[in-house]
Amino acid sequence: MNSARRLALANFWVAFAAFGIAAVLGVWQMWARSPWQAPLHTPSNYFLSVTAHGVSMAYVLSTFFIMGFGYVVAETALKRPVPGIRWGWIAFWMATAGVLIADLAIFSGNASVLYTFYPPMTASVWFYIGLVLVVAGSWIWCVQMLVAMAQWKRANPGQPVPLAMFATVANAVLWLWTTVGVAAELLFQIIPMALGLVETIDVGLSRTLFSWTLHAIVYFWLIPAYIAFYTMAPQAAGGRLFSDTMGRLSFVLFLIYSLPVGLHHLFMDPEHAAGFKFLQSFLTILVTVPTLLTVFTISASMEIAGRMRGGKGWFGWIRALPWERPMVLATGLSFFMLWFGGGGGLINMSYGMNAMVHNTSWVTAHFHLIYGGTVVLMYFAIAYEVWPALTGRRFASNKPLRQQLWWWTIGMMVMTLPWHYLGLEGQWRRVAQFDYSDPHIAEWGPWVLVSLAGGVLLLLSALRFIVNLLSLHWRAPGEAPPPLEFARPAHEVTQVPAVLNGFSLWNLLVLILMAAAYGFPIGHALVERAPAAIVHRMGG
């Protein structure tokens, strides 16, 4: 095994270990909120668990998975050694140490501030230092990806950067922009507060800085799924990518429009006026465009594959697709969940309509369906696709893989549909338990239990996933697996416009849009200082 692959595997396993633990915690949390008595159920255990679940799923699973996948893409798509492998290991150990430090703070009960922090509540400073180390590690990865692309372009002047790598670098650039908000919040506001250097904090400003990160981070998590849609699903289906150009355009649009939209998380906040909320609502609508383009391009790519396999008529090509392959099945199931999750998202971002659902279970349902459903399902499929190449072994059968994907999809739907309904009924978020003796709340009980059943199925699927991957490590090496390859476009691209082969212009556009969207909200908060709130320390 070469060193880039070992590095990728190490990152993947940290991601999936955190995922397994977080899945167990998630089910326990749902049990605790249900009418049934859960073991060890106290408010402090509950919020400790929510913090650990959020940090593990949102920061650890995503970041480590993306780093691991980035190394695989850089090596496979560019067909060159990944630059700075030693730096990659430094990034890995830095981020892993960060996870352990943050987890120690969480599990000692000194960091129950959830993964979104909520100052002026303050956790142990080690919690924040741990997370800073994770982010700093991921920055090293970003530089590696940028260098890998630059080296390849120098060696292949005028050639289009392979789409998978172009998208990976788009994600690295997006992540560098994204983390600026949370880094400023942590370094200038929260860590001084946690160290006891200051006794008050400007909460409106910290929420604004966090919102900078809060939406774009979701697109950081999502882009690997889209890379799989564009470059792995058509290949697995035995077809071609319908349009390489549209792929590039979609990733560029994600980079531009996922950043200046974070204020839509603050629609219900008193520290921003209606004008900037409306502006960012408008920009948020535009971020639906790349997703709608992707749905079309991928459907068309799948149609090519289906017809190449003999599918006829309007819908015959769908049946002709090789659904027995995990990547194809996952793409179909992921699109199915995207339909519901994306629809819910349109409601959330609709400015005034947000009042109906803000901080209700509807929102929890939305992001579990989009991230936990659409995106993480594709993480599974990517893992199934790359694991044979990483371990040099073939899966004995695809059946357990398909079963795991089905369980995950069914579990996610059974869990989140009741949550959407309960949210509309007014069930609010982030509570350790409900008082089911209240007649209004009692009506929710049966639906909470249905969603718990979905959660149990998700846990079974999560464990099955880990067993499926482990089984490959334990198998005796047999016939060598086929090499990993990315889908080729239907019409070979020999050259692309320079703007779609790099990021200078797009970085400039991001800068302009961010200045327009956040310049005044942040500048105003810095000039007209709002009265600060007194720091509240959690735990010892």
Binding site: P43, R207, L266, D269, A273, L293, H358, G426, A533
Partner: protein
């Protein structure tokens, strides 16, 4: 439609992209209409208040909390959200009349929704949150804190008692509370 050349692909994709831009414009028009014509806007009064001296301020002193009808007839409920209760725990408001809810926090971030309505706002220390509404139905509505505010968050609940307009009877001071009959 077959895509035999790269030009065909681009033409089909462009057509689709234009259709999607049309969809986006329709959504935007709906939001604009709701905002400008039927006044569906998020609570956005940027109004500062010092959380450290809230209890000494004119407006949010304990004696001034709860529902009050002003000399101009405006009905305003003032509520302090604090770890882990609302003060007062119950407010009375009339159905079918425009009312204003004003919130402030002396400590950490809170938030409220009123079940069965679109009343929803964050309560951020440093700012006054204000929501205008008109309750349609009478009865006791739940008003929980919907933002994590510490280990006692789950117990933080208040009641909004919506009474028929003819049973909404302010006292000589213009006050109405859940205790009075």
């Amino acid at each position: 439609m077959a895509a035999r050349t790269e030009q065909d692909v681009v033409r089909i994709e462009t057509r689709w992209a234009l259709a999607m831009c049309g969809v986006v414009l329709v959504i935007l028009a709906a939001i604009l209409y709701a905002s400008l014509r039927i006044h569906v806007n998020p609570p956005s009064n940027v109004e500062l208040i010092d959380p450290k001296t809230l209890h000494l301020s004119d407006e949010f002193t304990e004696a001034n909390l709860g529902t009050r009808v002003g000399p101009d007839g405006a009905i305003v409920a003032r509520i302090v959200a604090t770890q882990f209760e609302f003060v007062p725990r119950c407010v009375v408001l009339p159905a079918g009349r425009r009312v204003t809810l004003r919130f402030a926090s002396p400590d950490v971030i809170h938030g409220i929704l009123v079940s069965g309505t679109n009343v929803n706002t964050m309560v951020v220390p440093g700012y006054v949150s204000q929501v205008h509404t008109e309750f349609q139905k009478t009865g006791d509505l739940l008003m929980p804190c919907h933002e994590y505010c510490g280990l006692g968050h789950s117990q933080m609940l208040a009641t909004v008692r919506v009474v028929p307009a003819d049973r909404f009877k302010p006292d000589a001071d213009g006050r109405v509370s859940c205790e009075q009959r």
